[in-house]
Structure formats: C-alpha cells, structure tokens
C-alpha cells in the first residue's frame, strides 16, 4: 500500500481558466486549485466526453434484481446468534429495576445486556438486549425481561410542549443544545444566525402589502426498508462489523471509542445498503447504541451476533425529521418586490436539538434587502431526530414558499413572476421557464379554485363532477458540501486490469457506477473494465454519505488518481511508440499519438511494460475552489387533482428542474431526483408520526398506518437537469440526493390551493383537512 498522502495546499500561482456556467451562457472563470490538481472539466469538455454525462445502467443492478446482492441483513456467519434490542415501553420514567433472570434461564439465550442509564425520556429508548440461537428465541427472551418503571409526566408534541406548564423533558441545565441558545421550559433559542441582513422593521414600514401566516409540518420518520442493524464478529481482539450504514468510518470511530479498542483492530464493511436517508450516518442511530450493544453481546457470547431492529423499533429510536411550526411575515411593494422577510420557527427534534428550518428562507429571494430569522428548538418525549434528506429544508421551504404563494395571490401576481422579481441566482432564473414549459404552467387557474378558466377549463375540459385540478410551484436550495478528507486509489495491474479503491460505501445512489465512469473517462477505457472496491474501512478513507457529498467528494480524487496513473502509462507507451509522452492521448482502450491515430498501442500493451505488478496512485481530494455560483438551485412544479366531495388529493404530475454541476450519469442522477419528488409527495400527503397523547407511545409504528406513497398513488414525474460547469472541483460535479426534495411539500400544497382556492397550512394534506379548509373558505 502506498503511504497516506498529505492534503495538498492551494497554490496561489497555479491558475486555470475554465469555461464556467450554463451551456450557452458560459463565461471564463479563473480557479486556483491545489498543487498537483488538474484543470476542471468545463463546458468545453461536454462535447468531448465519451462516458461522462451518458446514461449507463448501474453496475450492481444484476445482483440486486436477482436477489444476489448481499446486504448486511443477509450476512450469515457460522455459529451466528440473533440479537434483539428491548426498548422502554413508556415515554418518561425512572428505571427502578431490570430483571433479566427469566430471560437468562431460557434455553438458547447466550448473552444479555442491560443499560446503565436510569432515566427514560422517550418510548423506545435502549433498556436491554439479548442474543439467542434464533430470532424466535430472542423474541421470547425479550418478552421475559421485566422492567420496573416509576413513570413521570411527559409531553408528546411540539405545541403541547411549548405550554408554560408542560412537563419538562430536561432540567434546564441539561439541555442538549449549545450554551449560546437561551432556555425556558422545553424551549431553547433563539439560535444565533448569520443570515440576518438589513432592518426588517424599516422594510415592513416600506411595504405596500404584507402577508403573515403560520404553517405546520408533523414529524416524519425515515423508514428505510432495511432497518438499522449490524453483524458483529470478534476473532481474538479483531472486530469485524458488517453494518447497514451510510458511513462506515463513523461506525468504526464510534464503536472503537465506545468499546475502548484501537481503530486498527476494527473493520467495518458495507457492501450494499437498503436505504438510510440520513438516519444511518452515526455509529448506531441517534436514539440507540445497538451497534455497540451487538459487539458487547458478541463478546459475551463468544459468537458472532446479528442484531437488527424490527420495524416498530425503527420508527421509535433511529431518528426522524423534526416537526416545525413556522410563522412567516412578508412585506412587498405592489409590483412584488420584497421589502422584508421575518421568519420564525419552532421545531421539535424530540429529545435532541437541531430542529432549525430557516435554510430555505435564509437562501431564497436573495434580492430582498431586509431579512431576519429566529429559530427555537422545543423538546418533547420522543426519539431524537436525525438528518433526513435535506434536514429542516423541506419543512422550511413549505413555510416560506407557501407564504410566497399566498403573497402572490394577494398581489394578483403570477407566483413565478413573483419569484423572478426577487431572484438572485442566475441558475434558478434560467430554470423557471424550463419548468413552467414542462408542466404547462399557462394552464394554471388564474384565480385559485376558479374552474371557469385555466388548467381544467382550457386544457382538460370543464370541471368534471367533484374533481378540481390546479398547478403550483416552489423553490428549494441546497449547498455544495465536500468532504475534503476523501481519498481514492487507482490501481492499474500489469495485465491491464484497473481497480478504483475507495472506502466510501454505495448507499444506492449509483456511486459505484459514477466512479467507474470518472476513472474510465480519464483513462480512456470503458467503464465496464473498471473494478470498484469499496465499502470497507481497510481501504482509503471515504466520506459519510450525507449532505449530498459523496460523488463530488470522491470523484475529484478518483479523476486525479486516474490522471496520475494515465501519465505513468503514457510514459511506458511513449517508449513503445518512440514518441514523447506529452504528445499522447488516450481513448477507447488505446493510447495514440495526437494527430496520428495510426501510431497507437493498446492500454494493455502499455501496462505490460511496467516494472512490478501494479501502478498505484493514491490521492487525497483537493480543497473546494472557486465556483461559478454559490448554492445549488432548484425549482419544482406540481399538478394535482382534488376531489372536493371526499377531500382526496392526487398528484397528477411533477417536474423538478435541478442543478447538480455536470451530471456523471444522468440515468442514476435522475433516479434520485424522481425519488425525491416521490418521497416529498409522500410527506406532503400522507406521512405523520403520531404519538398517543395519553400514553406517549407511537400509534402507527408500521408501514400500513405510517403510510408512505405506494404504487397506486404514483404520478407522472419528470426530472430536468440543468448542467452547470464548475462546481468547484476538477470534475465540476455537485450533489443531487437532497436538493430535489426541498421544494416538493410546498409545490404540492400550492397546487392544492390553485385547485380549490382554500389554503392548507398544516401537513399532511389529508382529506379531513381539505374538507375543513373548503368549509372555512366557504364561510369566509
């Protein structure tokens, strides 16, 4: 193995000029990469690319569709035991005793663990665990564990917890929030922010029209189909953990620290992963230490232990998206020019902090001069939240973009025109018309709920019975995050075979395929001839797959490593061709002299000349450098159909327009965009984690009553990518997993308003809320 490289420092003297921006309106941009980095791919490369940007089926597809892909849940080791966690059955209590004697006496039980904590703050919190010879015996044993609680009063929901007399989740000196946030009752805040600008009081005084509204999002759970779990296997002091995780290195770090063992003795493997959406970024989960418990059980039993949570447990302790109560005040001139935005948010991440939602309000409508945000965290006796696909941003966009829609209605301005009036992003400015055209925006009801003109009237005929159609739109924002500790190794073997080796896991985004494409483009070979080695902490470190960082963190390292390997191969080929290495070019598996294609050798012939068995190039990702634009822009359009007699809402069509830099593989990129719209529509219409106000436990801890969008609810979904060159790294790539779910909730809600002329300000948009809103609108 080559040595771990030091991260290169930016070199002020190294300058490239890239043609950056949107195709058709590119502009030269000077960038200053780190020492040794290469010129970023830019707009001029689009026409030259052989593999980049071309749709390509994911390479693990055949394994997954035939049931051969081995997920963590599928791992089976000789002598393996089955573990089971036991969670608290009450939401707030003192644990007086835990009696495991009956469980220990049950034949087939091999190890038992109990918590040292005596305070229960949410139902589902870790209390005990068992390991036994079969899942059924483990379940029997779990039932035999007797926990004696002294129950305490609890608060189950955000608005309940904000009451001054609500039971306290924490003593005030134990708040899990920063010292810089104020505290009162169950409320911490406001959170310090750097987004404030101008003077909102002055801005509202200048306004010719104001709008104030309150909006509410409930808690959603991640509900990945593969629940959280690990297989823990000790061989002496060597520990191997097979983990269903988005971050194998975080599992290694967290478990090693909890167990007090050296990281070098811990190996974490994740070959395929059945969904995480942000809940699998830590060593275990935000509300459970099951990974550490599984390792302890395996040590006690002297046998490997597979420990997976069941669906009920998954809903309780593995994270969720915070609920949010948002109050938005907008001030504008009659022409739609914003003069002030005041955004307030109270969010509940259960027993955790970090329930902010101001991201979209901070970033959108950048031309507005006066902005203020206040955010509070509210504690409830519920499992701690975890990042969920653009954490806080879908909720926040529902608040701010619903309010913008209401403002447009009051002003009598087209919602798209109102956005354009206040838009600071050149990318989003270009996206509006693309999306409007794709959805047929001209069909929208000019007067919300008015069926005499617009969508239903002109395009699809007059209103049919009780069905009403409407169109809505909303914006979202996201960021170009990069994990600069990402490494990649490219190995060319003497037989010409190529390996890309990087520790990062593939969580189902098409990451494997994307890295093969990047390496192949640089080496001038076919992506199918590149073998990916990944998902193993013995490989060079890769990032945790959160924040939409994976592709744009690792791809630049892969490209640079491949470039270095290609240079070495060209030196070998130069000897064979009697040419200078600088005059060579690589394509289609051959290395040829520029301008004289007849003079060439194959990639394999060049590789055969190497001394030793392989060329290995290991690089650490360079720092993110100058970029054409700041945040990632996106906008979304929705068409819905509402039955005004039953209140049932059906999404008919959605269009998402997104910037993800230069897409590596549009096929898998667009799969993520389509998936985000579907998950977002599911949040908008169906999902709601319900805690019982009388007993504080979850009412719907399964997949029938915690309803997620199903095939019968499916709509027409269209993804349009607007490529933007130069995302600040040598591949010009950016992330896509999160941005397209930010606008969805608001886009659906705004379309419902356009259909029926009644505003739904609380999600999910269930039939009862539609009927109630209609009835209130009629009374008004």
């Amino acid at each position: 193995m080559p040595q771990q490289p030091q991260p290169p420092k930016p070199d002020p003297t190294l300058t490239f000029t890239a043609k950056a921006g949107l195709p058709g309106s590119g502009q030269p941009l000077e960038v200053h990469p780190a020492v040794g980095d290469i010129k970023p791919w830019d707009l001029d490369d689009l026409a030259r690319f052989v593999h980049m940007g071309k749709p390509r089926p994911r390479r693990e597809g055949p394994l997954k569709v035939t049931g051969r892909a081995r997920y963590t849940y599928d791992v089976k080791l000789p002598g393996m035991l089955y573990g089971r966690m036991i969670g608290a059955s009450v939401p707030a209590a003192e644990i007086l005793s835990i009696d495991t004697s009956a469980a220990e006496a049950l034949p087939g039980v091999k190890a038992v663990w109990t918590t040292e904590s005596r305070v229960v703050r949410f139902a589902g919190q870790d209390v005990a665990a068992v390991a036994a010879v079969s899942p059924d015996v483990a379940r029997d044993a779990a039932r035999l564990v007797k926990v004696h609680y002294k129950e305490r009063p609890f608060t189950h929901e955000l608005r309940d917890a904000m009451r001054p007399d609500a039971p306290r989740v924490f003593d005030m000196d134990r708040f899990p929030t920063g010292r810089d946030m104020g505290r009162s009752g169950n409320v911490a805040g406001p959170r310090p922010t750097r987004a404030n600008r101008g003077d909102v009081d002055k801005g509202f005084a200048e306004a010719e029209l104001t709008h104030e509204g309150s909006y509410y999002c409930p808690v959603h759970t991640h509900a990945p189909l593969e629940t959280h779990g690990v297989v823990a296997h000790w061989e002496g002091d060597q520990l191997t953990i097979y983990a269903s995780t988005q971050a194998i290195f975080a599992v290694r770090e967290g478990v090693a620290e909890a167990l007090g063992v050296d990281r070098k003795n811990v190996k974490v493997i994740c070959e395929h992963m059945g969904g995480g959406f942000g809940s699998k970024l830590g060593p275990s989960a935000t509300g459970s230490a099951f990974s550490v418990v599984a390792c302890r059980l395996a040590k006690l039993a002297g046998a490997p232990v597979k420990l997976f949570l069941d669906r009920h447990q998954e809903h309780l302790c593995t994270g969720n998206a915070p609920s949010a109560l948002m109050k938005v005040k907008l001030g504008a001139k009659k022409d739609g020019t914003l003069t002030a935005v005041h955004y307030q948010s109270w969010g509940s991440a259960g027993v955790a902090g970090g329930a902010g939602t101001a991201g979209p309000a901070n970033a959108l409508h950048g031309k507005n001069p006066n902005y203020k945000a206040d955010e509070w965290d509210v504690f409830t006796n519920a499992g701690p939240a975890a990042p969920l696909r653009a954490p806080g941003h879908s909720q926040g966009a529902f608040g701010i973009e619903s309010a913008m829609d209401e403002l447009a209605d009051k002003l009598g301005i087209d919602p798209v025109e109102l956005r354009k009036k206040n838009e600071a992003s050149p990318v989003r400015m270009a996206q509006y018309d693309v999306g409007a055209k794709a959805i047929g925006w001209e069909r929208r009801n000019k007067q919300a709920g008015d069926m005499s003109t617009g969508a239903w009237g002109s395009a699809a005929g007059p209103a049919q019975g009780s069905l009403r159609r409407g169109l809505g739109m909303a914006n979202g924002n996201w960021y170009v995050f990069a994990a600069e500790s990402s490494n990649a190794q490219v190995r060319v073997n003497r037989d010409g075979s190529v390996e890309v080796i990087t520790g990062c896991q593939d969580i189902g985004t098409g990451y494997r395929t994307a890295m093969a494409i990047v390496a192949a483009e640089e080496l001038g070979i076919d992506p199918g001839d590149v073998t990916l080695r990944l998902g193993d902490t013995t490989f060079p470190e890769g990032p945790g797959s959160g924040g939409s960082v994976t592709t744009n963190s690792v791809a630049p390292a892969v490209r640079l490593a491949a470039s270095q390997a290609r240079e070495q191969l060209h030196a070998l080929a130069a000897g064979l061709l009697g040419a200078s290495a600088a005059d060579l070019t690589a394509a289609n598996g051959r290395i040829s002299v520029k301008g004289d294609g007849a003079k060439s050798v194959s990639f394999k012939q060049a590789a055969a000349k190497m001394s030793g068995e392989s060329i290995d190039c290991l690089v650490k990702r360079a720092k993110q450098y100058e970029t054409f634009r700041g945040d990632l822009a996106g906008t979304q359009f929705a068409e819905v159909e509402v039955d005004v007699e039953t209140g049932v809402v059906r999404v008919v069509k959605m269009v998402s327009v997104n910037d993800c830099g230069l897409p590596v593989n549009p096929l898998t990129t667009q799969s993520q965009v389509l998936g985000a719209m579907i998950q977002g529509a599911s949040w908008a219409l169906f999902e709601n984690r319900l805690l019982d106000r009388n007993v504080g436990t979850m009412v719907n801890p399964n997949l029938e009553w915690y309803k997620i969008l199903a095939p019968a609810d499916m709509f027409e979904a269209e993804s349009i990518l607007t490529p933007v060159a130069n995302a600040g790294n040598n591949t010009s790539t950016a992330g896509i997993g999160e941005p397209p779910i930010v606008p969805t909730l608001a886009a659906v809600a705004n379309a419902v308003f356009n259909a029926i002329g009644a505003r739904i300000r609380e999600l999910p948009i269930t039939p009862d809320r539609v009927l109630q809103a209609l009835s209130e609108a009629r009374r008004a």
Partner: protein, 210 residues
C-alpha cells in the same frame, strides 16, 4: 398484488392446528378474548407440530430442500436463515410492504405471513429462481435497463410481484400494473421506472412471440 397466504386448511390436509376451523367451532368472540384452551375447545384436535424443531421438505426453485425448524418459523425465515436464499427481504414482517414476496404455486405470497410448515407440498419460487446475474429474466433485465431500483431492498419483491402479474396478464395497462404491484412499497421512489420496466418486459415478450 402480493397476497396473504391462504388459510392452511384450504386445499389440503394439514397436520397443524387450523385457526379457521377453530373460529368456525368456537366462535369469534372466544377467539378474540383468549387463545388458552384452544386444544380442548376445538373438536377433534388435529395433530400438533412442535414445540421442538421438525424436519420439513420444501420444494424451492424446482429442487427439494430439507430444513429443520421450529413449527413457528415463517417461510421467509426458513428461506433466509436456513436455506441461504436471502433475496426475499424482511421489512415490515406483517404483510404490509411486499418485500418478502415469493411465488407459491405461481401466486405471489408474502412469505412473512406463511409458516414454513404450511409451504410443504407447494412449489416455491424465490427471486433467485427467476434468473441469475448472468442470465436474467426479461423483467429483471428491464429493471436494470430502466434503472428501476436504487437501494434495491424492495427490488426482489417487485420483481416477483411483476413476474406474477405478467404471467397472469402479459400485456397489462398502466392501471393494471399499478394494481398488480399495489402490495409493494419502495422508499427510494422508483415506482415510475418500475412501471416502465414491466411495460418493457411485456413488449419484449410480445416481440418474442411474433
């Protein structure tokens, strides 16, 4: 759409206790309040399996396979934990998501709700039996081609349900596809491309016949 398994006493003689015959004889109210005393209240108590492990012969993907499991072990657990066929996935374990769908005598069944003992004497086909990475079925190949998968954990269930749908209705409309797959859930949001894959496989089979 994947179905719950038929009551075990329908179709053939069962050695195990039948919930349906008990309900018939004892009445629903008794069943709802207690399960204690089942044996004495049911007339002509049937032969009882267990509680110890029993040896079963299951015909899986065309070959007889022997497993020794407790009678309470589900078909899903028998396949995954005893026969190393891990294509069917445990996701909700109450018949709500379709990820564990297998074919039982050609019909899509959620294997988490069927006891392995009740699967004896039936033809069981898992996703592994429909094709291999080297030789995929037309539907499996269409899933790959259309990128009708992301994390892939729901994919085997959709492939099995889609296979059953196409066997019954080789040229389903979009509405029929939605209905045929209505028992399966995907969290990554791949439904649209799954529908396209079923349609592509349907077209491919039409092309083959003509």
């Amino acid at each position: 759409m994947a179905r719950r398994p038929p009551p075990p006493d329908e179709g053939r003689e069962q050695p195990s206790f039948s919930r349906r015959s008990f309900l018939k004889s004892a009445g629903v109210s008794a069943a709802a309040t207690t399960v204690v005393g089942v044996a004495e209240r049911a007339p002509a108590a049937p032969a009882v399996l267990g509680p110890d492990a029993v040896t079963l012969t299951l015909k899986v993907n065309g070959a007889p396979r022997t497993v020794t499991v407790e009678p309470r072990v589900t078909l899903l657990d028998a396949l995954r934990n005893h026969l190393d066929l891990t294509g069917a996935k445990p996701v909700c374990e109450r018949g709500g998501c379709g990820a564990c769908t297998v074919l039982v005598d050609g019909a899509p069944i959620v294997s988490c709700l069927m006891l392995a003992a009740d699967a004896e004497g039936h033809e069981i086909t898992t996703v592994e039996g429909l094709g291999s990475p080297e030789k995929m079925s037309a539907l499996q190949a269409a899933f790959v081609e259309k990128d009708a998968l992301q994390c892939g954990f729901c994919t085997p269930g959709f492939v099995v349900a889609g296979t059953a749908l196409l066997a019954q209705n080789p040229h389903p409309s979009r509405a029929e596809i939605k209905a045929g797959l209505a028992g399966n859930l995907c969290r990554c949001g791949t439904y649209g491309r799954i529908f396209e894959a079923v349609e592509a496989a349907s077209r491919a089979s039409a092309g083959k016949r003509s």
